[in-house]
Symmetry: C2
């Protein structure tokens, strides 16, 4: 019997799609990669996932897992050989346990992130992971890529939000590691090995996640700075003054703000005529009250003005104003898209290196590619910048994009030289795989390969992603 | 040339000790295990650690790493065969980098925890890891065991406090993973695999640790509860009311308090005559001011009284009173020691299972071992109880301790049945190694073995600890 027929028998014919039927899943979000498959399968539960993996192992067939297909690195797109089975977890979308006394939530991997947030809120709790794609990405995808987002400063990456996992191994066995424990030192940390491994070591089918108290009040401000150095100094001041109440600190350059005004003339227009080169969106979460949040805000900002750590501040006076300020940050992707393609770099450096990185890299790019325009923004509180570069105004998008490899190399080399990472929150997938030889030591690559070979000796789980192994 | 002579040549004769000279390191803190070695070596730096490992690999000789020798599971004590080399990192005690803008500190593994705390404080920052042995344990040992302590509720275990590591591999190569990044998704999470692996996968030689703002004020209270269920409900209330300001919530039973009074008659005597069965030490850290901390305290406690979540509260009015309250918690180990040996269990369960676990296990032990006395205390905020059991008053310590295996089995079975862990913060070492077959699934043990074999194929790093591999 063929593998296709085997899979139909295991799952029911209606849950197994042909290559043609699976078309929507076979191109990545950016349209950069197009794959082919033997079949796309929609198992109903963890046991069926395990059965699919066992059938694929028996047929020596690769298994590629995909969540909401919102990744940027092609990590969830099978290759073009047509040899793989695509595993879709949309039917694993149950909330298994809500445990408010333990402040945990156990959900299946196919749950949409926004639904997980909603379930938490209905239970009177906060699940803080928040990112642009939250309406369509799945928690399984978030776990597979250790997703970041806008609340990392306070709550950490997906890794820090996870207590336990359920995983189907490369042999199609089920590891039940769904522990709701804050402390458990009984062996190797398998959980964190699977998180961020992009489906190359095992298939995450469920997770026990941490919940937090819902904040009683939030306060938002847009701040203006005379320099990037001032913004970094202010951040340190704000961390000391707000402590864990500081939940977001999102940087936007003046050029980003100008782009937003240009592309969204109907949108909010804060700080019109203000000449500062850098801005940041600051959010505070308070567990007392609106008044309390407001007082803390005014105390810390007032102190910052006195110490010359801040040039200007616009404090949201209402929820509507707060949402308008956040809309600036959220519109950045779309504003860039409307202005034409640009080169995106998801880098991170130590916060103490942000100023040096930006000034060095800006100058370097101007020397090699005169006139390119910098749209630098991102999660300054995490040292994570979206260091994006658009075409010179006297040139074309196409001419600019032709320089992608050479320009990106300069940016990544610079991030690396400043102690940074070439992928802060987007992962490696297939798109950055070729860069690892340049930025990882042979020792680290060897350790990664050994782990891949130990947990997936036949190299059947999402092959050709994250790490290259000898055929 | 013998390995001993090789090591002398590598490190200088004065840094290589014979088995006899190494005696202080060869018995564990509890006096439970006594080892023998070929040599104990004190390398000066990471390169020398790597050279020692390479020499040992060439001679097919196991390497056991030891920090401050304060572990409770015998994890740092070599076996009695006399075949191993003991690796001591006391000379790797440098602070490499203090980066206040990045809120990180890079230190070598041999640094004493208290010194790391002090270096952070001198830089105007907090390194929050805090535990009883902090004056003698090393940060390398904390990393190797993923140490917990009294600030986990707010700041997490050692794992959550660590951004990067430097590790010597089983082949004597150096992995430089000393990244000071909050976000880095460029491959498998080697860092968290080494943390908590108790020297069985690699030798941690340095780490980049997270720093936090120093709190401006702290407030401490001892609370009395009518039941354990009330204490758990109060905890949920306190988390919502205090948010991340809640830094400790340490449980003490009335029997613990009575024991403290008995063994430390000169010590603090709070709540004399109060009849509640459970107490908790609550600590709040505030980033505003003493007044602010005090107001938050009174608001949340007042609300708790109204909602019947609290029976009584004693708020420290001064630093001296706060220290007196903390002394209760800190004296618990010594109080038990003075009262004679007892059976200690370092378990954790989901917080929602704490009440069921304690009532079920108390009843079970009374049924099987009538009259045993329960001294239950610990980190309720993390679901981590030190569930300790002393001899019946009409029996002897020796008669009681003879039942250790049978009684502990009941306790561990019960923790496991309540979704818990048999080692919350003390690790596995050699002492709990035999228990893993009972409480870990074959799938998980197999995954652990595969990782051990992948990273230490010759089984030379701390063999016979954490995981058993086929000879």
């Amino acid at each position: 019997m063929s593998l296709f027929a085997d899979l139909q028998q295991l799952l029911g014919a209606s849950h197994v799609q042909s290559n043609e039927e699976a078309a929507p899943y076979l191109t990545d979000k950016q349209g950069r990669y197009v794959g082919q498959v033997i079949a796309a399968v929609h198992p109903a539960n963890t046991e069926e996932v395990a059965a699919v993996v066992r059938a694929c192992v028996a047929a020596d067939t690769p298994v590629v897992v995909q969540g909401g297909n919102t990744g940027l690195m092609g990590g969830a797109t099978p290759d073009a050989s047509g040899h793989a089975v695509l595993l879709l977890l949309d039917r694993l979308n149950r909330v298994r346990v809500v445990d408010t006394d333990n402040d945990t939530l156990t959900v299946e991997a196919g749950c949409i992130l926004q639904n997980v947030q909603d379930v938490a809120r209905e239970a009177g709790r906060l699940f803080p992971l928040s990112l642009g794609a939250e309406g369509s990405c799945t928690i399984g995808g978030n776990l597979g890529t250790n997703a970041g987002g806008t609340a990392v400063l306070r709550y950490g990456n997906t890794r820090e939000l996870t207590l336990g996992l359920e995983v189907v191994t490369a042999e199609g066995e089920i590891w039940n590691g769904l522990r709701g424990l804050r402390k458990d030192n009984t062996g190797y940390d398998l959980r964190d090995l699977y998180i961020g491994s992009e489906g190359t070591l095992g298939i995450i089918t469920a997770a026990t996640l941490k919940l937090f108290p819902l904040p009683k009040a939030q306060a938002t401000a847009l701040l203006a700075f005379d320099s990037l150095a001032q913004a970094v100094q202010f951040l340190s001041h704000a961390r000391a003054g707000f402590g864990a109440s500081l939940t977001a600190f999102e940087l936007l350059s003046a050029d980003c703000l100008a782009l937003l005004r240009e592309q969204f003339p109907e949108g909010p227009q804060p700080f019109l005529g203000v000449s500062q080169p850098w801005f940041a969106l600051l959010e505070l979460s308070d567990n007392h009250s609106e008044t309390h949040a407001r007082e803390a805000f005014e105390a810390v900002l007032g102190d910052a003005f006195e110490k010359d750590l801040l040039a200007n501040a616009l404090i949201a006076e209402s929820l509507a104003q707060s949402e308008a300020l956040w809309m600036l940050r959220e519109n950045m992707s779309e504003a860039q898209k409307r202005a034409g393609r640009n080169m995106k770099h998801d880098i991170s450096v130590p916060i103490s290196q942000v100023v040096a990185f930006v000034s060095h890299t800006d100058a370097l790019l101007q020397a090699h590619f005169p006139g390119v325009r910098h749209f630098t923004f991102g999660h300054l509180g995490d040292g994570n910048l979206h260091y994006n570069v658009a075409h010179p105004l006297d040139s074309t998008v196409d001419a600019h994009m032709a320089n992608y490899a050479a320009l990106s190399l300069l940016v990544h080399d610079s991030a690396h030289a400043h102690g940074g990472s070439i992928s802060a929150e987007h992962g490696i997938g297939q798109r950055k795989l070729g860069l690892l030889d340049r930025y990882k030591s042979p020792v680290e690559l060897d350790l990664m390969r050994r782990i891949k070979q130990a947990l997936d000796p036949k190299n059947l789980l999402n092959p050709g992603k994250v790490v290259e192994v000898a055929p």
